[in-house]
Symmetry: C2
Subunit: 217 residues, 2 copies
Amino acid sequence: MASEQIENYLKNIYKLSANESKVTTSSLSEKLQISPASVSEMIKKLAEEGTLTHTPYKGVELTEEGKKLALQIIRKHRLWEMFLVEVLHFRWDEIDHEAERFEHIMSDKMEEKIDHVLGHPLIDPHGDPIPTKDGEIYCSMSYPLNEAQEGANVKVLRVSDANSELLQYVSSIGISLNKIIGVKQKMNFDSSMVISIDNKDVNISSMITKNIFVENV
Amino acid sequence: MASEQIENYLKNIYKLSANESKVTTSSLSEKLQISPASVSEMIKKLAEEGTLTHTPYKGVELTEEGKKLALQIIRKHRLWEMFLVEVLHFRWDEIDHEAERFEHIMSDKMEEKIDHVLGHPLIDPHGDPIPTKDGEIYCSMSYPLNEAQEGANVKVLRVSDANSELLQYVSSIGISLNKIIGVKQKMNFDSSMVISIDNKDVNISSMITKNIFVENV
DNA sequence: ATATACATTTAGGTTAACCTAAAAATTAAT
DNA sequence: ATTAATTTTTAGGTTAACCTAAATGTATAT
């Protein structure tokens, strides 16, 4: 049906719109690393095909159909990531890159088999929700660590998978899903934070705390 | 490096040359279901790139480099097939089709992981040998069932994966790898054969017997 | 309100596949 | 040794992506 490239556009539009208020030609161009001119063309095509609507300078919005397609790809991506960790013992910083290619060629049958072998997981190895087959998505009540109160104890529910080096570093200091973290001190001058993990204190930058999502315990 | 299409050409040239004495533009065209004109163009390109040599009307031959690439793809294909059966519980008639796409996007790292999880298998679920990383290929001493002597007891070592309906039928009558078969009777008029499996007698056509490879027991 | 900066689109071009139709080359058969 | 049949190649065209450079359109800041 939809080409691999189209699937990529739809997926990334969906993901961008979760963070930013509007998804423009240029923000997509930036994210996909494709020239604005090419993105502009593709947006035109997708609008004609009915998977999104576009108002120039205001941004694009996925139609119901577009959203459905995007969620299907995201489901395959995250199931595959889970599989890579659970069955093939990849590290969580390696999997996004691998799944990037597999999401497009995974048949529905394989999706089912993997879902079954994994026991119908609800989240992927980074804590991102895995959409159900009919596009429903479980939404946890987490907030970014940088907003946590000094003195609070929090539990890690999700770590952004946007940067694989960050994932690697974060696990090297002992952070993983469901880990309990104590917020020792918040530094005003650079917004960094001293946290305790396994009774050791570490100072982590605000770039890191913004990408770790937690809940109170 | 090599595009997905190029990988397909190389793989199929390798496989054709195992069966037929010469691999011509037209036999490749037939096998790949691509027009002779396009195949001709591609052969020219591959010859320039140094993965094969071509003598018009005589056929193509893979160079060492081409052979190496072909064996790498075949290794990935067969490892993946094995994985689909062992881990995801696919049937042996479903896997060739699935592996067809995956062989091209499987990273070397994933190849290693899968090889490890499977315990370094030497054959795939149809009994085809899995080339080693450096292109060595284990060769069993099997012969086609249609050549077996009347009265002989033979062991199934390989079933051709060329036709998925054949694979389905063959397993429905109880044939699987390592099964012992008794050759009851050979019919001269149509070259069919009565064999006994699990103490039941079945008549199978020569099309089938030619695709089952056995050794004496 | 206008200029400047920024965002977007258009125009024209590339590439790797593929295709059909026609031409050319080879093999095979009388 | 021709001719017929077959195989292969060439010529010219398509498509879905992509690109750069240039043109157009919108927003913002004075």
